[in-house]
Every structure is written in C-alpha cells, then in structure tokens.
C-alpha cells in the first residue's frame, strides 16, 4: 500500500513537475515570441507601426473634426451677434425716433410726469443703442485678417489720441516703457489698448490717475501690461470681468456696457494670446496681455 502510494506520489510529483516545466516552457515560448515580436525586426515591426500610424491618423482626424466644429460654432456665434445686433437696431430706431419726436413736439405741453416718462424711455433707448453698437463691434473682431508685426508704441499713441478727452477729464498721466512690436492686427491692437486705458480712466480712485503701460519678454511671449492706481477689485472677480456685459458696479455709478474687457479677451484669443487681471481693492489693477512671439519671420507692417 505504502509502495503503491509512494509510486502514486512520485507519479503525481512527476506529473506536477511535468506540468510546471511544461507551463514554464510554454511561458518562455510565449515570452520569446512576444520578445521577438517587439524586437525591431523589420519584418515584424511593420504591423505595429501601421497600427500606430492608424491611431495617429485617427486622432488627427478627430482633432481636425473638433476644430472644424469649434470654428463653425464660433462663426455661428459671431453671425448671431451680428444679426441680432443689426436686427435689434430696427425696432429700437422706431422707438427712439418716435419718442424723440414726442419729446420735441410735446415737451411742456403734457404734464411733468409725462415729460419724466419720456425722459426714461429716451435714456433706455440711449443705453440700448450703446449695447447694440458694442455687440456689433464685438462680433466684428474677426480671425480672418492677417496679423502682422505691429509697433505697440505707435498703437498706444493712437489710442491716447482717441482718448484725449477722457484722459484730460480724468487728469490722468499715462506713461510707458519702450514698447516692442507684437503680432496683431493694427486696428485690434489699438482697440485693445484703448479699452484697457478706458477701463483705468473709468474706474479711477479719488487721487490723480496714473497709468503705466509696461512690457515683459519671455522666450515664448511678449507680455504688455497696463497698470493703474484706480479702484481695483477683489481677485475673486478676476475672471468674471472678462465676460460679456459683466460689470462689478451698479449701473449709473460708472458709464459703460460691460463689453470692453470681453472684447479685449476676444482680441487676445484671436491672436493665440491670453489676457488676465490682477488687482487689489483701493490700490489698483494690472491687466496683462501675452502675445505669442513670432516664430517664423512675419511681415512687418509698413
């Protein structure tokens, strides 16, 4: 019995060993095949490379599709803003014109309350008109035009000339570093600086307004900063202020429709750049516009 059981045991052990050895052989075999598969043998490598290439092509295709989709939705949004603002003008024109006519013909002939009501309607029309103008302008910031290397200092001069009246009214001093050329369209660079300066002039504190336009260069970007000593704001609002029609103050306190910074953001995005704000309440605000540096030689605007 013992012998038999020993035999059984040894048979079982042998079987075990055989199984283990067999399994190991199989594993080694598989591993070898896999290893051979992975070795850079030209005959075996092709299917893997083909697979990689297929995946890359598919990914590229997907990115291209997504980009096209985004471009389409952007175009639609711009088209919508244009059509909406243009079509909104029409009924507004009627309301404004006929209320003007009412005021012209009947001011003082109705009672004081009527005159007051008419004044409110006219005020509403005036604000609506500005909103529509701003919305139209926003929708016209387009990506199609060819950016060039534009002298930011020249653009700043134009912006300051355009803002001569509000600058004088705010008794503001605007200083600047020697400014470089940046890749942008001329009109939009002027508009960007103008909107930022206007912002500093509007939200000024109870002291002489100082605005400084500076520059920081890195390997990848040229950052133009507009720093003021105005009201500033709390940093939790730093992103919100770039939204369309976003304002941090009650209407009437400060003029404006809340489109200026939204336009700045759109201009920067159109040029592959970024814009951000840093501020401290009561101290001032700094707006930074980072333009990617021109890699290939870009045409210099004459």
């Amino acid at each position: 019995m013992l012998a038999v059981s020993q035999i059984f045991a040894s048979v079982a052990a042998a079987h075990w060993i055989a199984t283990v050895v067999g399994g190991a052989t199989l594993l080694i075999g598989v591993a070898t095949v896999a290893l051979l598969w992975m070795l850079p043998s030209p005959s075996r490598a092709r299917p893997a490379e083909d697979e990689m290439r297929r995946i890359a092509t598919e990914l590229e295709q997907r990115v291209a599709d997504r980009t096209r989709e985004l471009e389409r939705s952007n175009r639609e949004l711009e088209q919508f803003a244009y059509v909406a603002s243009h079509d909104l003008r029409e009924p507004l024109r009627m309301i404004a014109s006929y209320t003007d006519l009412l005021a012209r013909r009947y001011r003082g002939k109705l009672d004081d309350t009527a005159d007051e009501f008419i004044a409110y309607v006219l005020d509403g029309c005036q604000r609506m008109r500005q909103l529509i103008i701003d919305l139209l302008e926003y929708s016209r910031v387009d990506r199609q035009r060819m950016p060039q290397l534009i002298d930011a200092e020249e653009a700043l001069e134009v912006a300051c000339r355009d803002l001569a009246v509000p600058i004088a009214r705010a008794d503001a001093a605007i200083t600047h570093d020697p400014l470089p050329r940046v890749v942008c369209t001329r009109v939009q660079l002027v508009q960007l600086l103008e909107n930022l300066l206007r912002n500093s002039l509007t939200y000024r504190a109870d002291r002489p307004t100082l605005v400084h336009v500076g520059v920081q260069e890195t390997d990848e970007e040229t950052v133009i900063t507009v720093r003021d000593n105005g009201l500033g704001f709390e940093m939790r609002h730093a992103d919100r202020i770039f939204g369309m029609f976003q304002r941090l103050h009650v209407r009437g306190e400060y003029p404006g429709t809340g489109m200026g910074l939204a336009m700045c953001q759109k201009i920067m995005e159109c040029h592959g750049g970024r814009i951000w704000a840093e501020a401290e309440p009561g101290i001032g605000a700094t707006f930074s516009c980072a333009f990617p540096r021109a890699k290939a030689p870009t045409a210099v605007a004459s």
Partner: protein, 152 residues
C-alpha cells in the same frame, strides 16, 4: 400709399414757392411718416409720394412719364424688387437714367455701398437711430434737391 396725394400740386398757378417732389420707396409706413415729419422739422418744402416696393415704384415712374420726381429716396431692403435692382432698372432705362437717387437704408455693408456707388447713387445714407439725426438727413435731402433743381 400717398402722403399727401400728388394731385394736390398739379393744380398749377404757384410759381415762386417751388415744392420738391420726392418719391420715397419704403415698405415700412412708420419710416414713411418719420421722413415726412423730419422734412417738416427741417423746413424742407417737399411733397412725398411713397411706394412700398421696387416693382410698384418702377411702374409709378414709367407711368409718370415726363412728370418725374426731383429725387427718389430709396430703401434697399424691399419686398419683391429690392432697392439695388430698382436702382439698376432706373439706370438702364433711357427716360429714367439721370434721375437723382438717394439711398436711405439700414445696411452697413460695404457691398451695398459699392454697388450703389457704381450705379451712380447720389448719396448713401444710413437710417439714424434718433429723430434729431433724421432731421439732419432730411436737411441733406433738401440740399440735394436744391442742387438738382438748380442744375436742371
């Protein structure tokens, strides 16, 4: 629609106070009234006949024969025959080709401006938002009529 009826001036007899005859091609009655009121405010002595689309206006001009208006005030966005088409039709018609035409439109499009300039429009005026500005437009129309009548 006629504001006021044309027949009123054809009575004859009035020689010195020359009234300008305007054909306003405009499909929005509120705009017709607005220009009429603006002409009054601008003290432009004008009789405005209005037509609501291009086809109707062309019919009216052809029927009028030698009794043409001093100027045509033309909106661009019209039902059936649009303003640009009407302007082209006027320029290609032997009897109408020299008719002064002022574009009064809401269009801001460069294409419209260029096309109308090519078709020898006298002026391209964008309808203003606000009555005071509309009175300025009426004054400008008055000046154009004055020049046209003086040249004739």
């Amino acid at each position: 629609m006629r504001v006021p009826p044309r027949e009123g001036t054809d009575g004859g007899g009035i020689v010195n106070a020359r009234r300008y005859r305007l054909l306003l091609v405009e499909d929005n009655p509120a705009d017709v009234r607005l220009l009429t009121e603006a002409l009054v405010e601008a003290a432009v002595n004008a009789e405005v006949t209005s037509s609501h689309d291009g086809e109707d206006a062309l019919r009216l001009l052809k029927r009028t024969g030698c009794d043409l208006p001093d100027a045509v005030i033309l909106d661009l966005n019209l039902p059936r025959m649009g303003g640009r088409e009407l302007l082209a039709a006027i320029r290609h018609d032997v009897e109408l080709s020299e008719l002064p035409v002022v574009i009064l439109s809401t269009s801001h499009q460069d294409g419209d401006l260029r096309a109308c300039r090519a078709l020898r429009a006298h002026a391209f005026v964008i309808k203003p938002v606000g009555f005071d500005e509309f009175v300025d437009v009426a004054r400008r129309i008055g000046r154009i009529c004055h020049e046209v009548v003086a040249d004739a």
